[in-house]
């Protein structure tokens, strides 16, 4: 029999206590996995959206920390187009609006002759025919969530729109959105002549240095405006940052609860086993070996709890993606990085949770611990 066998047998032969501890850790880690996965998924989804649009630069107006960018005059487009290396630019307006029973749906207004449409594939119906047409196309997830098909009418804010088509995009965010002609959204959101983003394509062969020069030029010539490389927008988006901060804050709470749970359980097990620790000390175990015994036990429990928590977290994300309230709004980003993070957190919990009980057990005096029944 070796030392690790003692650790293992202690856990396996106290099944109820081990399972309860494991469950406590698993719930904490599941919360971390689910929340982090959703936050990361939100960010990734936006990154994929910009990648799908094949956009080199996104021009937007920096405001105070509002979750949505501030609208600005669409005449800015002509000025941007006059800059060197800029080949195409198209404006878009976006807003979160209520559509019938759905409280917050992302609605885009796109220029009908802009390049953004290129990456969408029509699933059913047709694209909006003109700026004056009260029509909308729905992403496949949005159509499913809103229970609308081609020919249905949807009430968006105060206006009725006919669903003229449904589309599929490589980006989850767009699949959950409704898109209409830019002037239609400008009208119903009272943003006539305004856009929230300009999507810019640079001339083929533009070097990163030249792209950076264009960005600097935009910052310089148009005070208050910023140009981001497509990948940076998600990282700088206030809504995404807020979602991430919230998910981290909630995860932190889950972690604190998890850590206290582990510490409490390990501490209880040390109290419960004071007499046993006394026996080990009496028959000559070194204090360092007893510290290792307690720490290994708590780390083994945390590792297994972490693994179970990952499973539960993945299940929770899958359920969130199916639940009526969150369907179409949540996309989990699940992968090895998240699993590694969750396991690292679980192990850290095990070490932290076991540290004080291990220290306490190592301070016991054998004759006192033996008297403890």
């Amino acid at each position: 029999m070796n030392f690790l066998t003692v650790v293992l047998k202690n856990l396996l032969r106290r099944r109820a206590r081990s399972l309860l501890t494991l469950l406590g850790i698993a719930i904490g880690i599941a919360a971390v996995v689910a929340l982090t996965s959703v936050a990361w998924g939100f960010e990734k989804s936006w990154e994929r959206t910009y990648a799908a649009r094949d956009t080199d630069l996104i021009v937007t107006k920096i405001t105070s920390q509002s979750p949505m960018p501030a609208p600005f005059a669409e005449t800015r487009k002509a000025e941007i187009l006059s800059l060197p290396r800029v080949e195409q630019a198209t404006g878009l307006l976006s807003d979160l609006v209520s559509i019938e029973e759905a409280p917050a749906v992302l609605v885009f207004g796109w220029e009908l002759d802009g390049f953004l449409w290129e990456h969408l594939s029509l699933v059913e119906g047709r694209w909006p025919a003109g700026d004056g047409e009260n029509s909308v196309v729905l992403g496949v997830v949005a159509a499913d969530v809103l229970k609308k098909s081609v020919g249905s009418t949807v009430t968006i804010e105060t206006g009725d729109f006919v669903v003229c088509g449904t589309f599929d995009s490589g980006a989850f965010v767009e699949n959950g959105a409704a898109i209409m002609a830019l002037p239609q959204l400008q009208r119903i959101t009272e943003n006539e002549g305004k856009v929230t983003f300009l999507n810019v394509r640079l001339a083929p062969g533009t070097t990163p240095g030249e792209a950076e020069a264009v960005r600097a030029m935009i910052r310089e010539r148009f005070p208050g405006m910023r140009a981001f490389a497509a990948g940076e927008v998600a990282q700088n988006n206030t809504a995404i940052q807020a979602a991430k901060a919230m998910s981290w804050a909630t995860s932190l709470l889950a972690l604190v609860v998890g850590a206290v749970g582990v510490m409490n359980t390990v501490l209880m097990s040390v109290f419960e086993r004071t007499h046993e620790i006394g026996i080990l000390l009496a028959i000559g175990w070194k204090r360092s070996r007893i510290v290792r015994l307690i720490l290994y036990e708590s780390m083994a429990l945390s590792f297994l709890g972490g693994a179970a928590g990952i499973g539960l977290g993945v299940l929770a994300v899958a359920l969130l993606q199916l639940a009526p309230l969150t369907r179409g709004k949540v996309e989990g980003e699940i992968g090895p990085a998240l699993f590694a993070l969750a396991l690292a957190i679980a192990l850290a919990l095990g070490v932290l949770g076991g540290l004080y009980p291990a220290y306490r057990s190592s301070r016991m005096h054998p004759s006192e611990a033996l008297r403890y029944e």
């Binding site: 003692v6 007499h275 009496a282 028959i283 000559g284 175990w285």
Partner: protein, 234 residues
């Protein structure tokens, strides 16, 4: 107090052990010398300080004043008390003190972790010791599946794990019926005879003390008599 010729294995000088800031005096100036290879009983009523004396001899506790010497070396000067206990002393307790989650064959090698033996060697030695205490058929039983007498035999096998020079038994038959108690005493006696180790048994039971060659009688924290069995009286 009496002493044998030559350097004793254990010598205690003016041992005091108090608790609760001096309000409780468990030992009040105990002196003794135990030669190597002897079988000594420490007898006396409950609360007379005999278990405290045993814990001080086994380096499980430290005296408030005075000192215990093992082969002339003060226990207080031994830097690694745990290693001393593991390699030199075997303990047998009234309540057996087995680890409840480990089988007999897993309990016995627990003290062997401090020895440089590989896992298979520990297992072989443990199995041999359990066979020696007639538990060859109970190797894979948890303590909860063993009788009191069997548990104490596992504890005795464990106390012999590292071939100690000194075996300390605190009321080893206190929790056993008379038949099991007699068997345990026979076993201790035969182990003492066959292995030649020094054996100190603490007991309040005159019948148990009767097995020893020498009896130290304690009362109120002091050793009041020290005599060979024949002279010790009831």
């Amino acid at each position: 107090m009496t002493d044998s010729a030559g350097e004793p294995l254990i010598r205690a000088r003016d041992l005091w052990r108090t608790f609760e800031g001096g309000r409780v005096e468990a030992l009040r100036g105990a002196n003794l010398a135990i030669p190597e290879g002897s079988f000594v009983a420490v007898a006396g009523p409950s609360g007379c300080g005999k278990s405290t004396l045993l814990q001080l001899i086994g380096n499980l506790d430290r005296p408030t004043s005075g000192e215990v010497y093992f082969r002339s070396r003060a226990l207080g000067e031994i830097p690694d008390a745990a290693a001393f206990r593991a390699r030199t002393v075997g303990f047998i307790f009234q309540s057996f003190h087995l680890l409840p989650t480990l089988t007999a064959l897993e309990n016995v090698p627990i003290p062997m972790f401090e020895m440089p033996w590989p896992s298979w060697e520990r297992r072989r030695r443990a199995a041999d010791l359990l066979r020696a205490v007639d538990l060859g058929e109970r190797l894979h039983h948890l303590p909860s599946a063993l009788s009191g007498g069997e548990r104490q035999r596992v504890a005795i096998a464990r106390s012999l794990a590292n071939e100690p020079q000194l075996l300390l038994a605190d009321e080893p038959t206190g929790n056993l019926d008379s038949e099991s108690a007699a068997r345990i005493l026979d076993l201790l006696k035969s182990l003492h005879a066959s292995r030649g180790m020094t054996l100190v048994v603490v007991t309040h039971d005159p019948a148990v003390a009767g097995f020893a060659r020498r009896i130290l009688r304690m009362s109120d924290g002091r050793i009041v008599s020290d005599a060979p069995r024949e002279e010790a009286g009831p």
